[in-house]
């Protein structure tokens, strides 16, 4: 067999909107595969960044099966289904709040600093610096209230605009703005204290838990 199950749908359907595929799928269920082929990567990436690769597979698959089952409720006036899909994914992630927080706490524990007596290349130092910064981001994400985390990660990792996030979460745009503002402030503060000493304190604090 030379066919590849992962190959996207043919017939130029990539040029059709998501809404078109969803509408067609109401009578021809297999048309829904076009949505999967278009968005599986981005939904998986979003889920994997939030929950890790193991949980991401289930979450991505559940997102599309849930979407498929709810396709009759989709607002066909919305050509782009990404906000809808990421909204479903985010709701599903909501069932794994504790796992997500544990994961971010684990990511906050970056590797131990390289011992001084060993020669260290500049690049390695830079990498360790970036890792520390991300460790702080992870620690801050773990501390964020879940609703704030949803908003900031839909913006940063799902690449949605404010209105799209509002649609994904079913909240007013104003709510999105205020949650995003507070989330960003928390993250900014975390990064602002990104000198190695401050990091060590956070690190020790996290490890003591």
């Amino acid at each position: 067999m030379t066919v590849d199950p992962g190959v996207p749908l043919p017939l130029g359907q990539g040029e059709q909107s998501d809404a078109w595929s969803i509408e067609r799928s109401r009578d021809e269920p297999e048309q829904f595969a076009a949505l999967f082929d278009r968005h599986a990567d981005s939904v998986h990436r979003y889920a994997a960044r939030r929950l890790g690769p193991e949980a991401a597979e289930d979450l991505m698959a559940d997102t599309f099966t849930t979407a498929f089952k709810e396709r009759h409720r989709y607002d066909l006036a919305r050509a782009d289904a990404r906000p809808w899909l990421f909204g479903i994914a985010t709701n599903l992630i909501g069932r794994h709040r504790r796992a997500e927080a544990r994961r971010f706490k684990a990511l906050a524990r970056v590797p131990e600093p390289v011992p001084h007596e060993e020669p260290v290349a500049d690049r390695a130092v830079a990498r360790v610096g970036a890792e520390r910064m991300r460790g702080e981001l992870a620690a801050a994400l773990a501390r964020l209230p879940a609703r704030h985390r949803d908003v900031v990660l839909l913006v940063a990792w799902a690449d949605l605009g404010y209105e799209e996030v509002a649609h994904a979460l079913g909240v007013p745009v104003g709510t999105v703005r205020s949650r995003l503002h507070r989330a960003r402030r928390t993250l900014r503060e975390a990064l602002g204290g990104s000198d190695p000493t401050a990091f060590q304190e956070v690190h020790a604090h996290e490890r003591a838990r």
Binding site: V7, A40, D41, F64, T65, H72, R134, L137
Partner: protein
Amino acid sequence: MNELDELRRWEAGAPPLDDDTRHRARVRLFAAMNEQPAAVRPPGRRRVPRIALTGLVAAAVAATVLVTVDGAREGQQAKPPAVDSPNVANVAAPKVLNGAADWERRHERQTVVPRDDQFIYSKRIIRETERKTGKVRTYTDEMWDSVDGSRSSLTMELGNIMWEEPLGEGESVWPPRRWDELKKLPTDPEKLVPAIVSAGASNGSISDFTEDDRWQAYFLLGELLKAPVLPEGLRAAAYEGLALVPGVKTVEGVEDSAGRTGVGIAYPGRFKGRYLIFDAKSYEFLGFRDERISRDGKKTYVQLSHTVEWAIVDKVRQRP
């Protein structure tokens, strides 16, 4: 420093989606399609080639979407006299299927090899019974399938005329129609089954198959057997291959579209109401049983079908 940009640059330990994961998720999506009765439309017995999906599994499962049974409704309705209410037996599937392979080998005739530029004509009788009322309708379907997919294929079913667009680059249908593709399929059943499941990507022997592999095997072999013309030994190998798939069971007392009672071969965990039907004594293959649900989800139909005529022809609408 912009905290959002920093966040965007950070992959957070997430690897890209790999092909295996994508494949498993896609199969789960199609399984969900398969389980949802409201998704079923009439008549839809032959959408696979018409849609011309590129993915083997996608194509395979897309076809099952259209003939799903509504199991939940089954127990609430009166049994119409013409429709069987079979009991699943757990014993004799290999006996029936190996018997069918023997029958096939005894009766196999030299096959006419279709050229790529020709069409495979087939005529099927479909007897459809509405489960609730017992009302029976019989249809004759005719189809002309372009062998290499380079020309439009035609299906006339339930009085509808449907054209299948020529296949695009990288697209394929299951079962294949091109002779060279069919000839590549192993006629050793132990090799045939792994070769067709997961597009041959499922490593290892049948005994290592996952549940997904098993129902794919049942479904794909069943679809292969619908092809009227196969290379020598392949049909028998498909029967024997089915016998090797765990979970395949016999169903007693199944009636075919000609009114003959036979024994069904089913995969009850996944495909309720879908059987291949064999003569209970000679094990000659008689036909298929499927179920479909009306567009509004309120009516369930039992479909019995068998091929009554087929030929290799040069043009669409040409009959033997």
